[in-house]
Each structure stands twice: as structure tokens, then as C-alpha cells.
């Protein structure tokens, strides 16, 4: 490990599982102080990790979590908006509650977290906001109408945030992640996903390091001129 994030404070949403958990471990390993957000409590927090049991769809709870972070850490350097849910289902039989959850968590959750982070980053005069998007936004797979729309929306939000936040040196970018073996993926028909993967320019599942690589790029102090971008993994194009 290089200590790339030594002295940095990073926030990861959806921190307890899947890509979020992998990101927490990576950032801690690289020396960051990490504030993880998820709905559940965490019992054995590793050194350098502070957990905030917060529902990202609760605007007031998110606001006060960032106030606690400001008191505890003094600032926030990097935010990774990872919290998301996916129900893949034909639109005509998609349960309304699942549809609502995708909009609430994937879109509104990203919005609430980003705006609170931006308030702190504005005072510091710098910051990096990174959204975890999806190949679904570009590939538009059957069953993912709403999920794909929310992930496309995340990229669009990042583009608008970029304009609003550029005056105080805060960038906002999105990683269009391809399928990666996590618990979220395990809930879905592997044969369907295999068929999508086979058609990618780089026909393999993503590895955690593929994501970390783009996170490093977007989070770098040298990337102050990189904003409003979506980088897709695996050769997926916008």
C-alpha cells in the first residue's frame, strides 16, 4: 500500500456491503480516515473508520451526520456515493415499492449526501465527489428501466453539480461500473449477466482494482481540471 490517502478524510455511502465495503477497506489500507454511511450499525470498526448509521434518503439525518463529521474530522476531502439498490424486473410487474426505493436511494440519496458534502468542501475550497454509476445507464438492459434511469440521472446530476461547485474547486465525476461479483449481483440471474458481459469490449467481470484505479484518478489532487465526466469500465461507451 502506498499511503496515497494519508491525511485525507473520505466518506463512503453504502459502506457495509458490496462495492462500498471494498472501497472502505481500500481507502483505509491507503491511509485515509474513512466515514462510512449505511443504515445498519457496525460493531467491529477498524482503526481509522467511523460509522454513521444513517438512511441516505433522510435529508435531515444526512445533514446532521455531516455536521458530526465536521466536528469529528474537521473536514471531508472525498465522498463516494455508492449506496444504491437494484431490482431488475420487467416494468409491467415491477413492485411500486421497489421502484420507489431505487429513486429514493440511488437518486435522492446521492443528492442529499452530495449537497451536505459540498457545504463542507466549499469552506475548505476543495473536494472530490465520486458517484458509482453503472453500465446499465449506457447498455439499457431489459428489466433495468428504472435502475438504468437512476444511474443515468446520477451522471446528469454530477454534470450539474460540477457547474455549481467548480467555483470552489470541488469536482464531481461518475464511474460507470460493470458487473462485479458482490452480494447485489448474487441476487440476479447469473446467465443473464454473463450474456451482457460476453458482449462487452473487454468481456470479463470487473475486479475491485478496476474501480479503485478510477477512484484514484478522480480523487487525485492533480485531477482538479477533471469534472462532469463519466468513465465506464470494460470498454462500455456512453
Amino acid at each position: 500500500m502506498s499511503g496515497r490517502y494519508e491525511g485525507k478524510v473520505a466518506v463512503v455511502t453504502g459502506a457495509s456491503r458490496g462495492i462500498g465495503h471494498l472501497l472502505v477497506e481500500y481507502l483505509l489500507g491507503e491511509g485515509a480516515q474513512v466515514a462510512g454511511i449505511s443504515r445498519g450499525e457496525v460493531t467491529d470498526a477498524p482503526e481509522g473508520y467511523t460509522h454513521y448509521a444513517v438512511d441516505v434518503t433522510d435529508a435531515r439525518a444526512v445533514q446532521m451526520a455531516f455536521a458530526r463529521m465536521a466536528r469529528g474530522h474537521g473536514r471531508v476531502d472525498i465522498v463516494i456515493n455508492n449506496a444504491a439498490v437494484l431490482t431488475s424486473q420487467y416494468a409491467m410487474i415491477m413492485p411500486a415499492a421497489n421502484a420507489q426505493a431505487m429513486v429514493d436511494i440511488n437518486l435522492l440519496g446521492t443528492f442529499y449526501v452530495t449537497r451536505e458534502a459540498a457545504k463542507l468542501m466549499r469552506k475548505a475550497g476543495k473536494g472530490r465527489i465520486i458517484n458509482i454509476g453503472s453500465m446499465a445507464a449506457s447498455l439499457e438492459p431489459i428489466g433495468d428501466s428504472l435502475y438504468a434511469a437512476t444511474k443515468a440521472g446520477v451522471s446528469t446530476m454530477a454534470a450539474v453539480f460540477s457547474k455549481e461547485f467548480s467555483t470552489f474547486n470541488v469536482t464531481c465525476n461518475t464511474i460507470g461500473v460493470t458487473a462485479i461479483p458482490t452480494d447485489m449481483l448474487a441476487q440476479h440471474d447469473r446467465a443473464v449477466i454473463d450474456a451482457i458481459i460476453e458482449r462487452l469490449p473487454v468481456p470479463r467481470y470487473a475486479e475491485p482494482d478496476d474501480i479503485f484505479n478510477v477512484v484514484d484518478f478522480f480523487a487525485s489532487d492533480r485531477s482538479s481540471y477533471i469534472t462532469a465526466q463519466t468513465v465506464f469500465l470494460g470498454g462500455v461507451t456512453a
Partner: protein, 103 residues
Amino acid sequence: MTAVLTGSQIEELILGALNDVNEEQPEDERIEVGPNTPLFGPDAQIDSLALVSVIVDVETALNVDYDLPISLTDDRAMTREISPFDDVQTLKDYIVELVAEQA
């Protein structure tokens, strides 16, 4: 624990935020800051982004420094007959009201 804030402390917070924003402006665009400085509307001398900065700075101070779970821009603020953002006094009065509700 929620801290108690007086009206004059709240006014200081607002004027501090206004002064901070003022200092970010070019010298010839700086405004006179005082208890009656207009913030919004035809008499306002600050632009919308500066007003956003003032609101965010005051709200963040209330959240972070005083542990007050207050949002200055919820529906209630937006639907009042007299906007809380008209001038320093209306903003102060609105915050005094919100702080009193937290006590």
C-alpha cells in the same frame, strides 16, 4: 446537547457569513454589511450565489457549531408571506424562531 443561541449571536453569525462572502468579491463590488443589509429582492446587492453561500455558511454553523438540526431552506421558509431571506433582520428573526423550537 443543543446549545442556546441568542438573537444577537445569530445576527453575528449572519453578519460574519456576509463579511466572508463580501471578502470573496472584488473590492469594487463589496457591499456595506450591517443589520439591515438586504439579501434578496430588488434592493439586494448580492447575487444569488452569494446569498446561497451566506445561507449555507449560517446553516452549517448552526449544525456543526451548535448541534442544531436546522434547515434554512425547507418548504416552510419558501412558503412564508415575508421571505426569511429579505434582509439580515428577517433571516435573524426566522432563525430565532427555529432555534426556539429546538429548545
